[in-house]
Symmetry: C2
Subunit: 203 residues, 2 copies
């Protein structure tokens, strides 16, 4: 596409480098900026530069943080005896949104995937073991593995289980089954099969 202005072309090219945004959407966004007040574009640009340059990773759980420790690890209200292991920050946000978990997290920063060349050493697994060995060790009671129910997630969970055995902790994984509100008829057979195998007894 030919743009009427080099400035527009540059902006469209940069915006369309973002995932899921093509040239047409990028152009729509850039033209939208032109309609808004100039200071709004500056606020946007500053917020992007600030988040990129000043964000840190929590020294304890590797979640994103404003300072050395993330708000969750720093909080005294959280249950420090529970650690939920997740793939990335988005999973932390998803679990936080449920308001069902009051423990701490450990963000692996990825998942074991031989296809993509991601091995255990690329993930924050050693630092999890280190964390359990350190002064916290006595405090931690249970590790919950909250990884995606995929081949890679299961591989990672299996690997972690093996490595975590030495610590004599409870290790659990989030339940897999038919989604709540979903229609049984449309559940895929693997999920439905698993939900029968790991059925929950009425007490």
């Amino acid at each position: 596409m030919e743009y009427p202005s080099k400035l527009i072309e540059d902006a469209v090219n940069e915006v369309s480098k973002l995932p899921g945004i093509g040239k047409k959407t990028a152009l729509r966004l850039v033209l939208h900026l032109l309609k808004r007040d100039e200071d709004q574009t500056e606020t946007l640009a500053n917020a992007l530069v600030a988040v990129r340059s000043r964000i840190q990773y929590c020294k304890k759980c590797h979640n994103l943080a404003d300072s050395d420790l993330c708000t969750i690890c720093a909080s005294r209200k959280r249950d420090h005896s529970l650690i939920c292991v997740v793939e990335d920050t988005r999973d932390v946000l998803a679990i936080e949104n449920t308001a069902q978990f009051k423990g701490l997290y450990h963000v692996l920063g990825g998942i074991i995937s031989p296809v993509e060349g991601v091995g255990p050493s690329d993930l924050q697994i050693e630092s999890l073991l280190e964390r359990l060995r350190s002064e916290e060790a006595g405090e931690v009671r249970e590790i919950i593995l909250a990884l995606s129910p995929t081949m890679e997630g299961d591989t990672t969970a299996f690997y972690l289980q093996k490595r975590l055995k030495q610590f004599q902790l409870k290790i659990s994984t989030i339940a897999r089954g038919v989604p709540i509100g979903g229609d049984l008829e449309y559940a895929d057979e693997v999920t439905l099969g698993r939900s029968i195998l790991s059925r929950i007894m009425y007490e």
Copy 2:
């Protein structure tokens, strides 16, 4: 949603102000920035600020431009006897992409819409008349109205026709009919009806 960091929250809020981008998409984009090199975020931010602060409008056709005249109006290769009237810059780009039009443009900057409170005086209509009255006047041979085939587009076209009568120019509008590649069976009845009324004779 609670964010692990104020920086992320600010960035997500700013990004989600863009049209068609919700909080979840904004978060995905911001997390993507964190994975890329820092200078890429700076390039993006600079491009956005630059396009917003330095873009101009072509003094002749009101298209977006880097300087006083847009590249199209400044070009000697274009046919200065044809002016295509469009709603906004995106329409210019769409028509340029067809490579079927070699004349100049006139960007109205909107369309007459009583519902949205946009009247003729809010658009670049006077400047079109001025353009035709000025030294160019003798040069221009035909005005093509390339407005959307909607109620507002037709209203604007009708209004322009009335105002342009004084100039003794050819005035045309882009053809409306069944889209090429479309299935006749699925064409809506209004379009199909119009395509019969304005049928084209084989010569």
